[in-house]
Amino acid sequence: MNPLLPELGLVLWMSVAFLVVLFLLKKFAWKGIIKALNDREEFIERSLKSAEEAKAKMSELKSDNEKLLAEARKEREQILKEAKVMKEQILSEAKITATQEGDRLISSARKEIDKEKNQALTDIKKQVSELSIAVAEKVIRKELSDNSAHEALVSSHFDQQSN
């Protein structure tokens, strides 16, 4: 019994069986497994790459979006500003026209009032003169009912005229 001496029978069995198994495994196992592993590795690599690309694209889109948003914001601000200006302008214009209108109204009212006042005054004057004439008439009529008084009046009137 010497463990260092290889038995010829075992060497033959091992050689034949190993060759057969090597052939079978190579054909029916390793080929497929290695291919599957390589394919999967490639697939994963490709997937990672495309994911990276998608990510880049997305960030690009995002930055685009942000740009658009910023633009929109700017535009909104611009519009708001313009609206504000316009509002102020309209307001001030309105104020001016309102003042002018008011002034015009006031002045016209004043004119009207003046006119009315003058009219009223003239009316009053007329009435007063008529009234005074009437009064005078009545007075004169009473005065002139006797001749002396009539004469006195005429003379006074003449006196006055001669002065």
Partner: protein, 367 residues
């Protein structure tokens, strides 16, 4: 959550380990007592003989107390091919013109007995022994396991392509990738694809073969620890290296570039050194695998044998006393052997890959 799980797992492992230790101890001592009863006739327990018997090839498998006979196939020019079960020869009697002494089968002489020379050595012709011995059986079993496992893995790779591995596939994938990425690619370089099937086959053959030898109670296979198996594997590596060797590889051997001329002429010193290296590679591969695996078996068996020896010397008490230490040490060795089983498969495959790498390496400069 994770921590709690780990703690439970560790506790379970501890319980299992303790149970195993108790079980092994009782079992070993029971065996020891059994052997003492037997040894009343045989006088003493010969540890060396038992261990060598276990480590060497055998024409039958011992599963516990069972002796399972294996088919014997013998070929000789005179008698042709003979096939019969080993139970006919296991009792040391001649059968069909053959006789078996120490697992070696001889032709019997004309008198029906084994002839000896005058010094008492056996002096008889041997037929070519093509029997399915314990090692052949273990080797075939390893190969059948490989075929079943890897062909089924290939099927599952085909079924769920581009998907994460499942089940047995996910157990073997890291090992396959290990051989691919850690052994083949860095050692061989660009042409690694060509050698990958061979490297994967020897890696898993050695690993599974080593593991098979570590499973107790199934007959104690020592497939990879058998020098014939290791030799054949090393020879395959040697042949593949030589067949694939390019011009540079051979030139390095017969006319090493980059060394002073007086190392080559008049005495071809460089050639002698390179040639020794060339021849020693397969020899070293063979011996490393054979010695490592066989030594592991011998150490574990020695620890177990200690129980039997102490049992014989000091009775059952001695056996029980030493069994605690002995079992602890053999469990420790067992754990190391699990590591060695992987390590030797790795080393053998790595060295093969390095030899292939040196054979196909492209030299664009002399050194």
């Amino acid at each position: 959550m994770q921590l709690a799980k780990i703690q439970i797992l560790t506790r379970n492992l501890k319980v299992t380990f303790l149970t195993l230790v108790v079980l092994f101890t009782t079992f070993s001592v029971a065996l020891a007592e059994h052997s003492t009863k037997n040894s009343a006739e045989k006088e003493s327990f010969n540890a060396g003989e038992v261990i060598m018997h276990h480590v060497m090839d055998n024409h039958e498998i011992h599963i516990g107390p069972l002796h399972v006979p294996l088919p014997i196939m013998l070929y000789s020019k005179e008698k042709g091919l003979d096939i019969f079960m080993s139970s006919h020869l296991s009792h040391g009697e001649a059968y069909n013109g053959y006789i078996m002494v120490h697992e070696k089968i001889y032709h019997v002489g004309t008198d029906g007995k084994l002839s000896h020379d005058k010094d008492g050595h056996v002096n008889a012709a041997r037929p070519l022994d093509l029997s399915i011995t314990k090692s052949v059986f273990g080797m075939l079993l390893t190969m059948i396991i490989m075929l079943v496992v890897f062909i089924s893995i290939n099927t599952s790779y085909r079924k769920n392509a581009m998907q994460a591995p499942k089940g047995i596939q996910s157990f073997f994938e890291p090992l396959i990738l290990f051989v691919m990425d850690e052994i083949a690619k860095p050692s061989i370089g660009k042409k690694y694809q060509k050698f990958l099937p061979y490297l994967l086959t020897i890696f898993f053959f050695i690993w599974i073969g080593n593991m098979l030898g570590l499973i107790p109670f199934i007959g104690g296979f020592n497939v990879t620890g058998n020098i014939a198996v290791a030799l054949v594997l090393a020879l395959f590596t040697f042949i593949i290296t030589s067949v694939n060797g390019n011009k540079d590889y051979w030139k390095h051997i017969y006319n090493t570039p980059g060394v002073p001329w007086w190392l080559k002429f008049p005495i071809p010193l460089m050639f002698v050194i390179e040639f020794i290296g060339f021849i020693s590679k397969p020899v070293v591969l063979t011996l490393r695998l054979f010695a490592n695996i066989t030594a592991g078996h011998i150490i574990i068996l020695s620890f177990v044998s200690l129980i039997f020896i102490f049992n014989n010397l000091y009775g059952a008490g001695g056996g029980y006393g030493v069994s605690i230490l002995s079992v602890a040490f053999s469990i420790f060795m067992f754990a190391i052997e699990l590591l060695v089983a992987f390590l030797q498969a790795y080393v053998f495959t790595l060295l093969s890959a390095l030899y292939f790498g040196s054979a196909v390496e492209e030299h664009d400069h002399a050194h």
